[in-house]
């Protein structure tokens, strides 16, 4: 209970700090919503008049206070660019980005853990073939880590979209109307996000398992007659998972960052595109809400990771409850 309260407080503080920093950043960069709205019709007089009308000439803290009060009373404000309530504007996009992030995460977890364990199986074997295999594996792993998601995105669109016609690049089906088609579309985007992270997770899991296997207790268990395989699954894997789970939680933040780029490549109407566009329009009511959602998302992921880790390793539970 104490843990939950602590976490909740942390979440609130994070969100407030992040939203304030975003707000402050907007007052540092040049150009504001009024300027963006006026575009090439801008003149100093028009700008001043519109700024006054939109309330942008008031001090930063006043505007932030107003926004914060609105946020906590459930009023997310109105977009300057679209003149629509931010909530209406963002709700469908949250769903899309949530699906994309979740799919990517599942893919990363589902592929990297079995792959990492499998990569240990032939560890320590000698002979030219295994040495060669080791080189191939390392090179492939490095390659996957190095490929940026936007490039994989273009490659996948071309291969599965243009050549094989498994989906139509640029034609994202409405998520609520055609969930099947939309999920299939998102799957390809998720793959391009997942590839580098899978490579990282595999590498990390592999090295953790290898160092764990060298520990005394493993030697003892094996010398008592247990076979290598069952030791790996029953003891080593469990002990190796803690850092991996923590790493996966960090990955969550990276997925969100990558999805901004990948959404552009695949033409997916998600939060990322909205965020980028709103920043350049200085449409801060929209930017604020998106940033807070993303912050919430990342804090939530790390909280979940802690919970999972406590399940895996009881010692962490004691540490958390002191």
């Amino acid at each position: 209970m104490k843990f939950a309260a602590k976490r909740l407080a942390m979440l609130l503080v994070t969100m407030v700090v992040v939203s304030f920093l975003t707000f402050a950043a907007f007052s540092v960069i040049s150009g504001d919503a009024a300027a963006a709205k006026l575009g090439t019709e801008i003149t100093p007089e028009r700008l001043a008049a519109l700024q006054a009308e939109m309330g942008l000439d008031r001090p930063l803290m006043v505007r932030y206070g107003e926004w914060l009060a609105g946020f906590f009373s459930g009023n997310l404000g109105t977009s300057y660019s679209y003149q629509q309530p931010v909530a209406d504007l963002i709700a469908p996009k949250v769903l899309v980005t949530l699906c994309l992030s979740f799919l990517s995460f599942l893919l990363i977890a589902a592929v990297s853990i079995p792959l990492g364990v499998w990569s240990i199986r032939y560890e320590g074997r000698t002979g030219w073939f295994w040495r060669f295999w080791d080189i191939v594996r390392t090179v492939f792993n490095q390659l996957c880590m190095a490929i940026p998601p936007f490039f994989t995105g273009i490659l996948l669109s071309w291969l599965f979209g243009i050549l094989l016609k498994w989906f139509v690049p640029g034609q994202f089906p409405e998520l609520t109307e055609h969930p099947g088609g939309a999920l299939r579309y998102l799957f390809f985007a998720a793959v391009s996000i997942a590839i580098p992270r899978v490579a990282m997770t595999v590498r990390m899991l592999r090295s953790t398992i290898i160092s764990e296997m060298r520990k005394d207790y493993v030697r003892t268990v094996i010398s008592r007659g247990n076979d290598r395989g069952s030791v790996l699954y029953r003891h080593v894997l469990k002990n190796s998972l803690v850092p991996v789970v923590t790493f996966l939680a960090q990955t969550m933040a990276e997925i969100v960052a990558a999805s901004i780029v990948v959404e552009q490549v695949f033409g997916i109407p998600g939060l990322g595109r909205m965020l980028v566009a709103s920043i350049s329009n200085r449409d801060y009511p929209v930017v604020q809400v998106i940033v807070v959602i993303l912050a919430f998302w990342v804090v939530l992921a790390s909280t979940l990771a802690d919970l999972v880790n406590q399940q895996i390793d009881p010692r962490l539970r004691l540490g958390g409850a002191k």
């Binding site: 960069i29 040049s30 150009g31 300027a35 963006a36 709205k37 006026l38 575009g39 090439t40 019709e41 801008i42 003149t43 700008l47 009308e53 977009s79 660019s81 679209y82 003149q83 629509q84 504007l89 469908p92 599942l106 893919l107 977890a109 589902a110 853990i113 273009i154 669109s157 071309w158 599965f160 979209g161 243009i162 094989l164 016609k165 989906f167 139509v168 690049p169 640029g170 034609q171 089906p173 055609h178 099947g180 999920l183 299939r184 799957f187 390809f188 029953r234 469990k238 490549v265 695949f266 033409g267 109407p269 595109r273 909205m274 566009a277 350049s280 329009n281 200085r282 399940q311 895996i312």
Partner: protein
Amino acid sequence: MKKRILALLLLVSLLGTVLSGCGDGSTEQAPENGQTNGSTDAGTQGNAITVGIAQDLDDSLDPHKAVAAGTKEVMFNVFEGLMKPTSEGDLTPAIAESYEVSPDRLTYTFTLREGVKFHNGDTVTAEDVVYSINRCAEASETGVLQVEAFSVIQSVEATDDHTVVITIAEPSNEFISYMTTAILPADYDQQDTAPVGTGPFKFVSRTAQDSIVMEKFSDYWGTPAQLDKVTFKIIENADSILMSLQSGAVDLFAHLTSTQVAQLGSDFNVVESTMNLVQAMYLNNKAAPFDNEKVRQALCYAIDKQEIIDLAFDGYGSPIGSSMYPAFGKYFDDELSNYYTRDVERAKALLAEAGYPDGFSMTITVPSNYQPHIDTAQVLVEQLKAVGITAEIQPVEWGTWLSDVYAGRQYQSTVVGVDASNMTARALLERFTSQADNNFINYENDDYDALFAQAQACYDDAEQTEIYKQMERNLTEHAANVYIQDLADLVAVRNTLDGLQTYPIYVLDLSTVHYVQ
């Protein structure tokens, strides 16, 4: 505990299998618009097309408030004024059936066309016209932009249901060109988000950062649109644009680059027209060293327009020499395009005369979201090197460009394209008069101001055209800016479609587009 972890692992891998299986099952649900690839069955597509656009309409959709060129370009299909521009660059009566000008040229009497309907079903009345013109003349409502040329209006009156009389203070040749201002229903306040006009297409919906949907307006007064539905799809990423065209998701895309067009393949026809922009390296005439005319002229001699067009645009584009582009026909003076030709020695001599024998360093500010301007700036940097000028490109965000360069005039030089809001020479030339609000280059020339006043007072079209040409020559001779080109506009149109008309202003008219039988 072990079981729980095992179960978790199992669940995760199971989900993985299901999801990857999902990717294989491509046959169960055929892509809805997939047939667009086939050329034979035009009838099966429900007579709809998807048009790709590179930027969202993240603006007010109210035509009296919209600022972005991209918004006006698309909304051209929804709104009309008393008059409407034609693809040849003339004006044709639209909501007005005809108009008469009094002998003293001060009174315009517009007779409205019978039974013109708004998209909401209401009939256009003289009252709506009065409301719309007054709204733009007064600009008292938040966000409504004042039409400068309306400052001469003395009164707008509806004498009966079909007649509107506009009285102006001083005669003006160009007043009628501004009558393209959109006519809106008087008692409607949702224009920002759900616009209502009289055009061949009616607005259906907008999804932020995704799409805009329009449908054919069946009660249109003129030749109805040939398509039933048009979806504008926002695709910003250059690679995705190409991919969407090739995959069949998008049927038409304007403003492509020569590189993109080269990769399109045989499914598309390319319609080549002009962007109708004056692309130049605009110089802050008040910032050193560009406050010295000799330095500005030296820059003009230092650059080679054709080389820029060849290197950065694969040869597409028309060189220009002043603030006027070829599509304007009679106002365009081709002689000026070759007024300065590349002459490194002369440029160096001019620099020496101006007191910069060893050249100088300068900054070219470029809005980072416009690749053609960045490409141009890169060639410029190389060309300027030859005369000893070290130029540095400073890419800035569009918002920053607007507030610092355009409104604040805090810059040395910038590469952008300037467009005309309507088809008058005034729309391009007025901004360089010394008192103009949008004179972002700080150009101050008494002759120029005098010529402009003279042009405004002139009623004879030939004479006025001649004055405008003198103004253009003035800009060239004093090297107000380093003029470069009017960019080429390359439009990819799927070969099952035909009928696209191009205009000398920045609009995308879809009313004539149709499927080939």
